[in-house]
Each structure stands twice: as structure tokens, then as C-alpha cells.
Amino acid sequence: MHEKTVAELSRELESGKISSVELTRHFLDRLKQEDGQYNSFITITEEQALAEARAADERRAAGQATPWTGIPFAHKDIFCTSGVRTTCGSRMLEHFVPPYDATVVAKFRQAGAVCLGKTNMDEFAMGSSNESSHFGPVTNPWGLTRGERRVAGGSSGGSAAAIAARLVPAATATDTGGSIRQPAALCGVTGIKPTYGRVSRYGMIAYASSLDQGGAMARTAEDTALMLNVMAGFDPKDSTSIDREVPDYTATLNEPLKGLRIGLPREYFSDQLSPEMATRIREAVREYEKLGATVREVSLPNASLAIAAYYVIAPAEASANLSRFDGVRYGYRCDHPKDLMDLYTRTRAEGFGTEVKRRILIGTYALSHGYYDAYYLKAQKVRRLIQQDFVNAFQEVDVLMGPISPSPAFIQGEKTDDPVTMYLEDIFTIAVNLAGLPAMSVPAGFIDGLPVGLQIIGNYFEEGRLLNAAHQFQQVTDWHLREPR
């Protein structure tokens, strides 16, 4: 049962071959038996899940089911769930039980989906390896097949590992600098980061508000299309949500790719890319040529500035967003504060982990008196240059393709000594967030038994085209069906 996709499970529920309660029990049993080795979940909500499954079966019996009614899945622990603790991977929120649902959570609830729990993540989504979580690192299921403890990627590493290990068929995720695409690539699953503003950020704990975007992870492109059908849409509660009609993302999956114009950014095939990775990506592109696509080289001349711009903009916005954690209204509070300043400074010193504090300090520095123009304003100008590169490229091609990560999943602890080494992991994903574009990671082969992800970047609001391209690739390849054993 756990081998099946969301689309397949949905048909089984519809035909009455299986009930949601049976399906939910099956996945909960697997989760409890298997997750010890991966640590992909922070919280398992067994009782709520079974109650939701019973309600889903009743709803189906009453003839009011949606494709999601009764489907088990999980939320990244960054989405607020009413009555269920939401930690964001931090000690600061270890015991935080939100009094409301994120819009994304409410939408899945309305569709009748069954949430099995909350997946592990880098603290406040700051990380590329899931090693900054207060609840311990997530271990990549593919690494374990080689007897090694490798990273699952981050920050949505729990969602990616859980899907790869067949503990859930699908999970929500978020992407600020690559946090959906990179873990999806490293764990061999499919992930989509939509256009900025396409999915509501309401109730999604903020890291860098001008970059944060919720999205979807599953084994197939078709399943992520089904997820976006639920998640996408205007939300008056999110001030940067875009008011624009949402298409049925499954309706265009089977369009032929003949004539699709693919651009390969020259800068994404630099010497930062391992030769094996470059080979896998070029092989994937050749599959697209067989499907009738044309390929040409394009240039994103300012791509090399993306990491520098990101590590000003994201920490600056984080320093402002995370100022809300003050030990007064909710979350962690230090013991025996001697005065108000001691309450603030010790609560934040003890409640935040090392990487989060580092980014708050860098952001505070960049925004402090005398530095604003040199850092934040400069980074925002560079951001426009980076966006303009993409605008120019999309005048010549329909989609861009390239790698997600410079190399496959690395060994845990290998990059934790120097933050900058870790930051360079996102060299091929960050520019997309700065430009606000939609992009996917699609399983595209292996290097020494470790998964490789193909990145597909689209123009604004062209999620449908990306999902179509990914789905067609998955009709002629089986990388997305491989299981870590």
C-alpha cells in the first residue's frame, strides 16, 4: 500500500477497495516502526489522524469526497496546526501549540486529507542539511543503503526523507533558498516551489518574507500537481498573496513536449558542479530532446552574485521576523530573569540554536546604522539584476534546466564547521527565490547509489508547464520509482 502514489491511493479509496482508516493505520504503523532510523518526524499525531480518517470515510460514504479525502500525508513543522504543537525545529517553540491553522493546513483539512504528523526541518528553515534542527538531524534513506549516515538536505529534509522511505506518500514543504528542491534532489523525490505569492504564507512561520514560499513534495509530478490544486490560491490573510486564477494543474500533465524550448544556463555547468553530476543532468536533457524539445545554451551573467545577495536579504528579514520571540507572549522563556533585558537576551540566547543566532546577528549588522545602503539596499539592487537575467532568458526559451546541488548527499557533519561551505550548497537554487520564479526538482538518476535531481525553472505562474515537463519525463524514466533498500 505504501508503494502507491497519491493518485493511485485516491482511486483505491474511490473504488472502495480500501478505507481511509485502514490506509491511515498502515502508514502510522510504518511510521512508528521505521522512523527511528531516519528521524523524519518531530510529532506523530496518531489519534487525530485516525479521527480524520474516520471522518473521511464517512464523508466519502456521503458522496462528498475530493481526490484528497482520506489520503494520509504530513505537514512540515513550519505550518501552524491548531491544537497540534508546531516547533519549526526550534527549542524556542518546542512546546508551542498554535491557536489557529495556517491557510495551507486549513485547505488540506477542507479537502479531507489525513495529517499523520509534522516533519523535521532545519531550525526556522535555516539550513541545507537538516542538521540545525533542535530535534536532531534527519538521515537520508539512500545513504543508509550504503551503511552511511548522509544528510537528507534541508530545510525540508524531514518531508523528503519520509517520502523517500515510503512513510508518507506526500508532504508539504517550504523553499526560501532551495529548501524544497535540494532535499527533494538529495532524497530522490519530486518537489515544486511555486511562484512567490502563489501559495499563502499565512500561518507559515516566517524566515525571510520576500523569499519564503510554500510548496509540495511527493514521489511523482502528478502527485505534486494534485497537492498544488489544494494549496494554491489567493489569501486575503497574506499581504503578498497574488490574486490570480488557479488552473487545474493535472489538466495539462499530458500535453506533448514537442517544440518545448529548453535553455541550459552556462553558469550552472561551471566547475562548481561535479563532473558526474554534469553528466547525469546532460543525460536527462537528452531524454527531453527525444521527447521533441529543443535545447540551447543561455546565460545568467549575474548568477554568481546570488548567494551574496541572499545572505544579506534573508538574514536581514530574519532578524526582523524573529524579533517576535521575546519570551513574553508565547514560546520559550528563560528561568528566573532578573530584569526585562535579561529576560529577552537569555530567552533568545537559550531558545535559538547556533545557525539561527548567526543569521540574526548578520541581519542585524546589515540593517544597523551606517550599513543599510552598503548591504541591504545594494543586495536589493543586485536582486533586480538577477531577476533581469531570467526575464531575458525567458524571451528565448520556455524553461531552464540544470542541476539542483553541486554533488549528491554528503556525510553528516562534513559541512558543519564552516557556515559558508554549507551556504555554497545552494549555489544553483537561490537565484530562483530572489527572482520569485517557480522551479522543480525531478529525480534524474544516481551517482554511486545516491539520487540526483534535475532542476526545471519556469517563468512566473508557469507551474503547469513545469509539472507537464516533469510528468512527461516520468513517463519515459523510472528514477522517481526507485526505492532505497
Binding site: P99, A308, S323, T364
Partner: protein, 95 residues
Amino acid sequence: MSISREDIEKVALLARIRVDDAQIPALEKDLGNILTLVGQLAAADTDNVEPMAHPLDAVQRLRPDEVTESNQREAFQAIAPATENGLYLVPKVIE
């Protein structure tokens, strides 16, 4: 690029994060490395480039000036570390 002990102490105070003396050397190294990385921005030619705040250059929406939310003080204060009579408690600020 380097960052001084004084800078770190000043920024930590602004950020309301206590930093112990023992943590300063590691912060000097890590924050210095990050500032070197972001220092690459200085070389970019951004004359006549407008700063970009929103990818789609959207502006904040306005809504009618009507009450849309109900008071949920009880629910919100139920998760606070310390409250009394509907107020949040903090250490004494004024003697």
C-alpha cells in the same frame, strides 16, 4: 572582511541575544567569513538599478476599514509563559 569584538557586542545587544565571552572568537571567524562572502556585492555595477522588494513589484493591498477579527485574548494568552488578569507578566520595569 573582519568584524571586531566591539561590533559583535553591539549587534548582539541590538538583537537582544546574550553572547558570552567564550563565544566571541568563533563568531568573529564565522561572521567574518560570511561578510567576506557578501562583500562580493560591492563589485557589482548597480548604478541606475532600482532596488527590488517584491518579485512581481506588487504593492500592499488596502481593505475596507471594518472590524473583521474577533477578540481571542483567552486563546492567545493560554499559550503565554506568564499572565495575570488578562495581562502579560514580565520582570518589574519601573521601581
